[in-house]
Symmetry: C2
Subunit: 266 residues, 2 copies
């Protein structure tokens, strides 16, 4: 089974060339699509109801049962699936040890909930691993959406998507070019909180049952001026000589404190 | 000032060759030393009372005031400081944009506290960024020490030290080759807790004022058999379809819940 009749054997194949353009932000925006690699991430997308535009696979690299089952499921559903020679697939993939399956997916555009009560805002997060990990934590903590503010890495960057572990397909994400756009997306009465090593109330004394936005600022430069002005500073008390936490850690600790309040507070 | 008379101009210089061996675990163990790069990390080590065995610097790369002040302070204290040609320094450094200062430091060996009340145990953490971030979080959350169990990346690996942001110089760290060694280091009455997606009490219902060890297992394989047997499973409740958290996030969320109990619980 899954025996392809025609393999794509040239890196100059137009479908391959078009898919490779999705490794850049410009290419993703122009096509309204992203390229996702790997059995786990594609299964997450497929289970979330996202139908691939094109699937590429390398029969010789697709070793696992899960991978073959996913491919069969995509083929049965009538998705356009193209077998590739290993060298063509390796040139398409960005991972070091590609799993032999990748797909072009439409950029996720899940609707924002009408009355959000917990939002994560990324403010100048430059590290793709931190951005993706924060998106993953936001979903796990029950946030309604993630807003990607100015100066943050593109959330559909390959590394961000990999660190997100599928959260990109299940949680509404909005990219905003300016802070006015961010403000317009959120209820006016929503309180904004930003981690601030220099003061404010302790993060566990905020009433997180109220509609709240948690802003995580750049590890290098801290929060942007707009965010500092709009937000209440909150402090994560720290022991020893520690001056700060990794941005993904600080944001996640606050997200899970909010989740704890929302789950347990009377 | 800081005008070196003799620059090391050859990568074959014996001091340079010896220092480069410290990029491997074997080299670090043989020498009982590690090589640390960058103004921030070296300042942290120096402030923590760790005296460099040898300092290397590249006058042309050491641009910042902080870097020059650190070098002057090390020279005044009588540390052996060697100027290097840029190409020699670049070959010594592992960072992409080296800051022009690096030093050989004795491997930190801070004493374990006699009666520890909060310990972090790393169980098969393979990702250097996760390991370093967890060490950084452990210090910030007030843990007494970090135990590096079998199967975890070497805590003095360059990337782990960088992600640790100086915590390596302030918090006792112990590497253990086997679980018997771990057990021997800790009070018998200490309770061990491990994050477990499949059950146990919620992580915020544990009485963290009691002497506790928090074990973080491998993201790929989960906790090791010894840890599963010795530990109580605890659950971080998650929303949506999220199956797990990044290992550094899960460990840090639990560490800061323990810190919150120890700070605020009556």
């Amino acid at each position: 089974m899954n025996e392809p009749i025609d393999l794509i054997t040239s890196q100059e194949n137009p479908r391959i060339k078009a898919a490779r353009k999705l490794h850049t932000r410009k290419g993703r925006i122009a096509a309204g699509a992203l390229l996702v690699e790997g059995v786990r991430l594609l299964s997450d997308a497929w289970r979330s109801g996202i139908r691939p535009e094109i699937v590429f696979y390398a029969p010789e690299m697709l070793g696992s049962d899960e991978g073959n089952a996913l491919l069969a499921s995509l083929q049965e559903a009538g998705c356009a699936c193209f077998g590739c020679a290993p060298a063509v697939f390796a040139a398409l993939a960005e991972t070091v040890t590609p799993q032999g399956i990748a797909a072009v997916l439409p950029l996720p555009a899940l609707p924002m909930p009408p009355q959000p009560t917990l939002i994560l805002i990324l403010d100048g997060i430059g590290d793709p691993g931190n951005a993706g990990t924060l998106i993953r934590s936001a979903e796990a903590a029950g946030a309604d959406a993630v807003i990607v503010g100015p100066g943050t890495v593109d959330p559909f960057n390959d590394k961000v998507v990999r660190a997100g572990m599928g959260a990109h397909f299940r949680l509404p994400l909005r990219r905003c070019a300016g802070w006015n756009d961010v403000t317009a997306l959120l209820p006016a009465e929503m309180a904004w909180y930003v981690a601030d090593a220099h003061g404010g109330a302790a993060y566990d004394t905020v009433d997180w049952r109220q509609p709240s936005a948690i802003v995580v600022g750049s590890e290098a430069h801290g929060p942007s001026p707009h965010v500092s002005e709009r937000s209440t500073g909150i402090l994560i008390p720290m022991a020893g000589s520690t001056e700060s936490l990794n941005a993904a850690i600080a944001g996640s600790v606050i997200l899970f404190e909010a989740a704890r309040w929302r789950r347990t507070a009377v």
